[in-house]
Amino acid sequence: MMSIIWPILVIVVTVFGVLGVAAVSTMLERRLLGVFQDRPGPNRVGPFGLFQVIADAMKMLFKQDWIPPFADKPVFLIAPIIGFLAVLLCFGVVPITPIWSVAGNLNVGLLFIFGMLGLGVYSVVLAGWSSNNKYALLGGMRAAAQMISYEVFMGLSVMGVVMAAGSFSIRDIVDAQTNCWFIIPQFLGAVIFFLAGVAETHRLPFDFPEGENEIGAGFHTEYSGMKFGMFYLAEYAGVALSSALVTTLYLGGWHGPLLPPFLWFAIKVFLLICFYILLRAALPRPRYDQLMSFGWKVLLPLSLLNILVTGAVVLLRAGV
């Protein structure tokens, strides 16, 4: 009996946990931006403005669910769902603590994540295409080019970790960091992985698919109500996922002295989310082609170099 209830409990709690984190991140972002920008931020609803999250959720739920008459209706509907589900499914293979994960032991965990992230691109591209709006189309085009290329560097940058741990299972990767976090031997890989993560979640400074100063709201120009809410939540869930992955792959996951594993995991993820927000507050947006050439001309050779060096070290060690 327990063998059935426990996994279901884990799944349900994880899903709602992720949704909760995504929702609270929206609030955290606005308050932190307020701090960075010398202004209060939303502080009217509830104590410290904490109920703003609920107010926002209510607003999104009750807004008119408008589908533009010129849009491709089925695709327009399905696009946000794809994006949202792809991010949620990724969390399935992230081990949060030694005892808490939906499928953290999956032996191809990392590959599963890359598969899901690949699917996530469809969400943005289809949204941009089906909206039948020129701004959305430009956003979708940018998204396709940006996310596909950054997936390449993301995949390559993480190979160093895979080689060092000798496994695609994220659980094994975390276990391999008991003594030394991978951020020390794999520093280059960690930086590239983080940058690619920013590009994957299309957050400032890499928010080209929606770059509001240039193309209005980009791929979700025509979206409103809960369908926009799904893009919005997926973005923050994506930030949480990217932070969780950096934590598990490079920062030792739940490992840490004194505090219980879950707290260590939560602290690391929280700090990374804050860093994401700081990036948004601090940096201007490069031009779209500059980002692409930065990726192909700088990040690609660097991640290949990283693989080469890591492979050599692994082989040397194995040879001894």
Binding site: L283, P284, R285
Partner: protein, 592 residues
């Protein structure tokens, strides 16, 4: 300090000036020379000769700019003795930017039933919009113009608003209605037709996308529409569409007294505040022969420089925001708030104080003003240093702005670019220095310039100008003279109250001055200043009435925006946003 500062003295037909050169033209080219109040050499030219004359003027020297092109409906004018018969007079104002200020003005008389004149778009490219404007507002046809269409009024407009027989107020019309059919027609009229602009819909290997950027877009700084012809994200061509903010400021001037028009000028460049009052009141003062006391002059300079700082801060913050950096605009607007606090304490208003008066300013400086100003002078430079680290040294900011939107000095002159946009090309030219007005010649300040004329340089020049404005304000703070803040002149202030009850003359003057407003002697004058964004020139024609006969407002934003297609061709959408940010325009200033 008692010296009278007058910005007309540099003009006039000195030897070697453009005016002298024109006066020496063969007699068949010129009809006559007219003496104007501002001393700018003014020549009447027949429409058959105007192209030849302008070509000769342009070829006569380097860096000659078509500063302004406008029109006057002369049909109701009383005082024009000895001038050639004319219903519509087209006016060309040429200014040289080579050395000290040197200007010349040409007038071409046209008959109402034959209001045609040859276009000069091939001589000065910036005459394009100016001619469209003159056609739109006066109905003067410029033959050979590449696209003579309405520019400030909607394409569906009937009539030419600045003609004297066009109504000025909505109350002169039947009540306005808007039927559904009309709405549809108005919208259809805004549909972009690439063929009419000579654009193709396809290239050899792809279809172009026509993207309607604006009039509601986060980065176009107001209601500005630009239609982009795109190949992928690259801009093949761009067609700016303006006029959404047009409110007929020039027409309003013809039904407001000289005095009550001052608050309207505040709102022309709405981030420039009293900077807009400056050329207007100086023009009226010149017409009326009023000498402004030194204290008022320095108060004016100080407030104008505060508004320059305020305007440049808005430029800085919004330009950076356009490039995706979200935070600096908040810090910068906090600084701007400090500026407004000071302005509010002095003027009683924040953005549009209308503080300048004919003959001086509205009131004296309040007690303790100097403390606030001094604190601000110490505060801002540190903040600017911080923004320098945050923005100007940021590699992403540099990558987005360096080498983007480049033009050189010659192109700038051809397109009528003045102000920081001109100085960023390396030309050290500032009206405050070349033709000092209101006492700028006593103040020591530098003219910041840059080399490359790209978006980065324009931003850098703006920032350095903020520092120079601080220097000017510090001078005003340390050297503020005593004395009256308003000229003792019958056209500027009412007669002294104690005397009104004793003699009938004073009483009548008081009555007329207060109920009609001052009657300004007839004449015409141009009055130009170095405004926040470039040269802002008012061309005032008085027909000896209590209201202006014609008020022409030459705003830098209108002229500068015109070069957008040239700058954006071949760039990407993101570059266009950087260029728009760096041009520093305000739509209210463009459309008037």
């Amino acid at each position: 300090m008692s010296e009278v500062f007058d910005n007309s003295r540099a003009a006039g037909a000195g030897t070697g000036s453009m005016g002298a050169a024109v006066a020496a033209f063969p007699p068949h080219m010129l009809m006559m020379e007219e003496a104007t109040r501002d001393g700018v050499p003014t020549f009447w030219v027949s429409r058959g000769q105007i192209r030849a004359v302008l070509q000769a003027v342009k070829a006569g020297g380097a860096l000659r700019m078509l500063l302004d092109l406008t029109c006057v409906d002369e049909r109701q004018r009383i005082h024009r003795d000895g001038l050639p018969a004319s219903d519509f007079t087209v006016i060309y104002h040429i200014q040289s930017f080579d050395g000290p200020i040197d200007e010349v003005r040409f007038k071409v008389p046209l008959a109402a039933d034959d209001a045609n004149i040859a276009s000069i778009t091939d001589i000065w490219p910036n005459s394009n919009w100016l001619e469209r404007e003159a056609w739109d507002l006066f109905g003067v046809v410029f033959e050979g113009h590449p696209h003579l269409s309405r520019i400030l009024t909607p394409p569906t407009w009937v009539g030419h608003p600045l003609r004297k027989d066009h109504y000025a107020r909505a109350t002169e019309r039947p009540p306005y209605t808007l039927s559904e059919d009309q709405v549809f027609d108005e919208q259809e009229a805004l549909r972009f037709d690439p063929e009419s602009w000579g654009m193709k819909r396809h290239s050899d290997n792809s279809d172009f996308m026509f993207l309607n950027l604006g009039p509601n877009h986060p980065s176009v700084h107001g209601v500005f529409r630009v239609v982009l012809q795109l190949e992928g994200e690259f801009i093949v061509d761009a067609v700016p569409d303006i006029g959404f903010h047009h409110r007929g400021a020039e027409k309003m001037a013809e039904r407001q007294t000289w005095h009550s028009y001052i608050p309207y000028t505040d709102r022309i460049d709405y981030v420039g505040g009293v900077m807009n009052n400056f050329p207007y009141v100086m023009g009226v003062e010149k017409l009326a022969g009023i000498t402004v006391p030194p204290r008022a002059q320095l108060i004016r300079i100080m407030l104008a420089e505060f508004f320059r700082i305020s305007s440049h801060l808005v430029f800085y913050g919004t330009m950076v925001q356009d490039l995706g950096q979200l935070s600096p605009v908040f810090y910068i607007f906090t600084d701007r708030e400090r500026v407004f606090e000071i302005i509010e304490k002095i003027c009683g208003f924040r953005m549009h104080p209308a503080f300048f008066r004919i003959g001086g300013v509205a009131m004296d400086l309040p007690e303790g003003w100097d403390g606030e100003v001094r604190a601000f002078l110490d505060y801002l430079p540190k903040r600017l240093d911080e923004y320098n680290e945050l923005v100007m040294k940021n590699p992403i900011f540099k990558a987005r702005t360096k080498g983007v939107g480049v033009y050189n000095t010659e192109e700038a002159i051809d397109w009528g670019v003045t102000g920081p946009g001109l100085r960023a090309t390396g030309l050290e030219w500032d009206y405050r220095r070349k033709a000092p007005y209101s006492g700028y010649d006593q103040i020591d300040f530098d003219i910041p310039t840059a080399v490359n004329g790209d978006c980065y340089d324009r931003a850098a020049v703006h920032i350095e100008e903020i520092r120079q404005s601080l220097r000017i304000i510090r001078y005003c703070l340390d050297n503020m003279p005593g004395g009256p803040y308003k000229a003792e002149h019958p056209l500027a202030v009412p007669p002294p109250k104690p005397r009104t009850m004793h003699d009938i003359e004073t009483l009548i003057h008081h009555f007329v001055g207060v109920s009609w407003g001052p009657v300004i002697p007839q004449g015409e004058v141009r009055s130009c200043i170095e405004a926040t964004k470039g040269l802002n020139q008012y061309y005032l024609v008085s027909d000896g009435g209590s209201m202006s006969y014609r008020t022409r407002i030459r705003t830098p934003s209108f002229i500068h925006l015109q070069q957008l297609p040239m700058l954006s061709r071949g760039t990407m959408i993101a570059d266009l946003i950087a260029i728009i940010g760096s041009i520093d325009f305000v739509m209210a200033d463009v459309d008037r």
